[in-house]
């Protein structure tokens, strides 16, 4: 059979969702941000909530997320996305409100905001992209950097006596009464992407049920910051990140 006979509109099984704009993403080749943007866009499309969703973009690589997903967006000050989401959701309880934050934004400067938003049990979704490094500013150590991991500011590897220990924000958040769904996912292969999509969909559905905060961590790669190719970065993540940041649902009620 000729390829031209296969490539017809009626045979299409998968393509870019119309919720993703035609803008070329500024992310580095192979960046997990692109995959997660795509998952979120697909979930919003499948739920049919494009005109009812408000995203809060962070400071970091994902600051320009509003260019890529065709929904309403707000752009918050560094780390303050949960505070902005709190206000947005309280004023518009009929909207689906989510924040999209990296580990530099959420785990470092915004640590206080996220803890208290989760503790208050705001009915929002928090999507936490954890790549164990500050990607945008050039690969410096983040609170989530693994022990021994080489970054721009820890050229001999992170040392516990000098730099402290990596922080498992997701486990901390799971202990708070206000959260209803806390999970850690990844997006390096098709199975993981499908699982992450399911988790994000569940989180969006929870936000309308007055159950509390839903928190989805996606363990991600930063191949530029890690100085690896995208494929090797995925492998490095599986070998080094997953033993410490274990995947799966931590809390679900």
């Amino acid at each position: 059979m000729d390829i031209k006979d296969i490539i017809k509109p009626e045979n299409k099984v998968y393509g870019k969702t119309p919720l993703l704009t035609d803008a070329v993403m500024h992310y580095c080749p192979g960046c997990t941000h692109g995959v997660v943007h795509k998952i979120i866009a697909e979930v919003i499309e499948e739920m049919g909530i494009q005109d009812k969703t408000i995203g809060i973009s962070p400071v970091g690589c994902a600051v320009l997320a509003y260019n890529y997903i065709d929904i309403d967006w707000e752009q918050s000050a560094h780390g303050r996305a949960p505070a902005l989401a709190t206000a947005t959701k309280r004023l518009n309880p009929e909207k689906y409100v989510f924040t999209y934050q990296g580990d530099g934004d959420l785990a470092s400067i915004g640590c206080g905001e996220v803890m208290h938003a989760c503790n208050r049990g705001e009915n929002i979704v928090i999507i936490f992209i954890n790549n164990a490094i500050y990607g945008m500013t050039g690969g410096q150590m983040a609170p989530t950097t693994l022990l021994g991991q080489v970054t721009a500011t820890t050229p001999y590897g992170r040392r516990a006596d000098l730099n402290g220990y990596p922080m498992k924000i997701t486990e901390i958040v799971a202990q708070l009464e206000g959260t209803c769904y806390v999970t850690r996912q990844s997006a390096q292969n098709p199975a993981a992407v499908r699982k992450a999509k399911k988790a994000i969909r569940k989180a969006f559905e929870n936000s309308m049920m007055n159950k509390g905060t839903s928190f989805v961590e996606i363990v991600s790669t930063c191949n530029s910051g890690w100085k690896l190719t995208p494929v090797k970065a995925n492998k490095w993540m599986e070998e080094n990140m997953f033993p410490f940041y274990q995947l799966g649902d931590i809390k679900d009620r």
Binding site: M1, I6, I7, K16, L20, M25, P29, G34, K38
Partner: protein
Amino acid sequence: MAVKGAIVVDIEKCKGCSVCIANCPTNTIALSNEVNGKGFNFAIMANPDNCTGCTNCATVCPDAVITVYRVKI
């Protein structure tokens, strides 16, 4: 039942990250020798006969540049 697939890559948006190649179970995709307007070697169907239209490549593509088609034969 046998299936046959094909992919179409948005060449100008592909960044040649190769994540699709690593996740293709049938060894269909490879990077081209040519480059696109941004200077990236883009993904192509190097072995079109192998493609089953499983959508793995498009699922993991960070830039959503792959469209998958499938027919039953």
